[in-house]
Amino acid sequence: MAELSPSLIPRAARLREPDGLRARLRRLEPAVVVWLLLIGLLLFLVVGPLLMLVVQSFQHEGGAGYTLENYFAAFTNKHHLEALENSLLLGAGVAALAAVFGVPVAWAVSRTDMPGKDLVRVMVLGAFVTPPYLGAIGWILLAGPNAGWINRIWMALSGAEHGIVNIFTFPGLILSIAVYSYPYIFIFTSAALDAVSSEMEDAAHILGSGGLRTTLKVTLPLVWPAILGGLIISFLEAIALFGTPAIIGLPAHINVVTTQLWQLFEYPVRAEVAAAFAMPLLGITAVLFWVQRRTFGRKSFVTITGKGGERRLIKLGNWRWLALGYTAFVSSISVVLPFLVLAQAAFSRAWGRGFSLGNLTLSNFHYVLVEHTTAGRSIIHSFTYAAATASLALLLALVVAYIVNRRLLPWSGVLAFLCVAPFVIPGIVMALGYYAAYASPPIRLYGTAALVVLAFTARFLPIAYTNSDAAMRSLNPEMEDAVRILGGGRLTVLGKVVAPLLRRSLIGGWILVFIPATRELSAAIFLTGPDTQVMSVVLYELSGEGNFEYVAALGGVLLVATVVIVAVSSRLVGRDFMLRRG
């Protein structure tokens, strides 16, 4: 015991666990400082923008005095009300169609012996990581009136004068969003189906129920809450989406809430009316999220008991070719065909001239990478902002998750709540909030990279937090205690055990924030300035000018970079980490 001299111990003792009020304050101080720091940061990131948005919705133009005028202006205008109605119809239509795509595919992959499942999973992942606005461009090339590939092939085959499909319609808008929204339904449904034991189905069989009837009466009802969860997410994503409605809806004179908000920011800017008009979007999202949580909370019989039973795959016999055909159809319209025509456009002088050697060129890539004034820089911006966002969100989420799980501070639940609260804030509403709070003095961040990164961080914080929290839960605290008792301090614990053990999930969480941040459009379009352009905004502007070849080339750069990143990280953290729930 030579090292532990008696004089040393009381000192250590005082530092750790003092007595008396003053000493108590001293003991609590660092903890309180950390807590205040975190709560301050989260208030700045999450609460401030929302609060300022609400305040702004009640302000006169320019911020003098309070009024209800903005709400009158927002909700008495016929166009505005029509936009609101369109948004709801669009959300419902997308959710329904996405379920038509997602549920059968999830069932076939999870429960049957359909061949080619791995490829189907890759296709679902492909649809999941495709930026919807890029898919929308692909669908313009496929189903634009007369010039679209489907129409041209139809006219060539049938000799008709006009094409048969037109993407610039309300059903076209629904389709072009639903094909990128069905992965949500797929993920929710297959996760639930994976947990349903075959014994549940056997119990129905033994009572005399046939295969189809069992699937419809037992299996699907068991996962119904999961499907409902997927429907709600699809609906919410659709009504919050800006890119596709702007690219396909506006030319067809279909206005939705998000595009209407964007128009309110055109000259003359009416930010106060926009703030008021954004409130229904926020309200609907909050309510539906609450409904989804409740459904999941109460009907948790869905998934939980699956553990004990073995799972066998249903033998489809010849029907499996029908199942494969349907999944191939869904994969085609979401990934294969749009990507095919986008690739053709990217390498074409003019996409309408079709597949021929004389039409082949690399000049589109040269244009977007070198000649265009902002496109080249926007690539660097997109990836650096996304990297900064992912790092910041994950760091913040990790610290909070650690504090919550190890109960290091009182009231840590508040921190956790603020981390997941942005789940219910649509990207465009978050952007308007950041515009209201931090664009103009006293905090003047408009046009800076910081504004974009902070808004992205707030937007994706819930993804980072749920991942960090899950990772922390998986870590037995005894692993950390073992380091301490063998002579390691808190830093050794973090460096030698916590960090290495969490490495895989941390990389996974980082990627899960990074990828959506590289393509975020609805928040970016309100917050980027001339010097902070990101790829999504440039893509949107190029498509507005009708330069689909350039769009395809720049989109191709984005997709190739994404695929490389996903491939590398899959190597690091294991396949299909993006399709896992939880």
Binding site: A12, A13, E17, G488, G489, V497
Partner: protein
């Protein structure tokens, strides 16, 4: 001077007293187990000894040096102890050898000495073949050995074990009990062993501390603990027993249905008016007639019986008092239900229970 001393140790969580006024002193090289049902405060006591939580009252001293008091705690990493956890807490990102070497690395040992000590420890726990394996590739018993090796290689002043065998299957658990005792005999590290399994405590320990509701019920050697339990809780928790409650009157102890001569009890002088005895089922003899040996002989009737292979389990009503005594008898001593028998109770082998409530 005691190696490790707990003095008036208490821990409260809000209103709940998890540990109340625990006094305990361990001699150097002693293995003492804390035995009790879940929630009795044994793990809380162990975590206080390790320095993971401060006591609400009382102190912990090692070699006379204060380690823990409500005013302060020497952090775990500076207590020169080591611990084996219920989950083993083997780090899955390190090989067996790296796990074992971890504590030595922190002590900045020279490379050669470090390698040699790891090597030696691995051979002691029979893991030298597996040293390059990762924990996920090991069986439960092997992981347990890694945990033992990792904790002991640093030659701690005090070794703490928190239910180390509770995650093993029954056969392995029995084997590892002897393994732990073997390692203790080899290294003589002062050890505190937490368990809820009485046979585990009996096999491994020099002394057993029985805890209940945060308090120490009895501290004794395994033999004394079993044969001379002092409280009702200890008698019932460590092995099976019968309780005989009676009154002392005029040199006789009256039980429901029968009475015995108090003078035959060795410590008859210590008996109060109310008397409670613990009588182990296997200390009661069953006979067809009254024997001549001195002792307490009572006529009774077999109520029911069960054959367990290695013994008979009889329920006997002594003296028609309506109570049931359990008696264990060898397989060859066969009595029918309803048969009249003579019970022979040896006063030397009954334990007087100190009623503390």
């Amino acid at each position: 001077m005691a190696k490790l001393a707990l003095k008036g140790l208490s821990k409260r969580f809000g209103e709940v007293a998890a540990v109340s006024n625990v006094d305990l002193a361990l001699e150097a090289g002693e293995l003492v187990s804390l035995l009790g049902p879940s929630g009795c405060g044994k793990t809380t006591t162990l975590r206080m000894i390790a320095g993971f939580m401060p006591p609400s009252e009382g102190t912990i001293e090692m070699d006379g040096v204060l380690l823990s008091s409500p005013e302060g705690v020497v952090p775990p990493e500076r207590r020169r102890m080591s611990m084996i956890f219920q989950s083993y807490a083997i780090w899955p990102n390190m090989t067996v050898a790296e796990n074992v070497a971890f504590g030595l690395h922190l002590r900045k040992l020279a490379r050669a000495e470090l390698a040699e000590r790891v090597e030696r420890m691995l051979s002691v726990v029979h893991l030298e073949e597996l040293k390059e394996r990762y924990p996920a590739e090991l069986s439960g018993g092997q992981q347990q050995r890694v945990a033992l090796a990792r904790a002991m290689v640093i030659e701690p002043e005090v070794l703490l074990l928190d239910e180390p065998l509770s995650n093993l299957d029954a056969n392995l658990r029995e084997e590892m009990r002897f393994e732990i005792r073997r390692l203790h005999d080899a290294f003589r590290i002062t050890t505190v062993y937490v368990t809820h399994d009485q046979s585990e405590a009996m096999v491994t320990s020099d002394r057993i501390v029985v805890m209940n509701r945060g308090r120490i019920e009895q501290v004794d050697h395994p033999f004394a603990l079993y044969n001379r339990p002092r409280t009702r809780f200890v008698a019932g928790f460590v092995g099976r027993t019968n309780f005989l409650e009676g009154r002392l009157e005029g040199g006789e102890i009256g039980f429901p249905g029968f009475a015995v001569h108090a003078g035959l009890f060795p410590e008859a002088g210590s008996l109060g008016r109310r008397v409670v005895f613990s009588v182990r089922p296997q200390t009661i003899g069953l006979h067809r007639g009254r024997g001549e040996r001195p002792g307490w002989w009572v006529e009774g009737r077999i109520i029911k019986r069960a054959y367990l292979g290695n013994e008979w389990d009889y329920f006997v009503d002594p003296g028609g008092g309506g109570t049931a005594l359990r008696v264990s008898a060898p397989p060859e001593e066969v009595f029918e239900a309803g048969e009249t028998v003579w019970l022979e109770i040896d006063p030397q082998r009954v334990a007087q229970i100190v009623e503390d409530t």
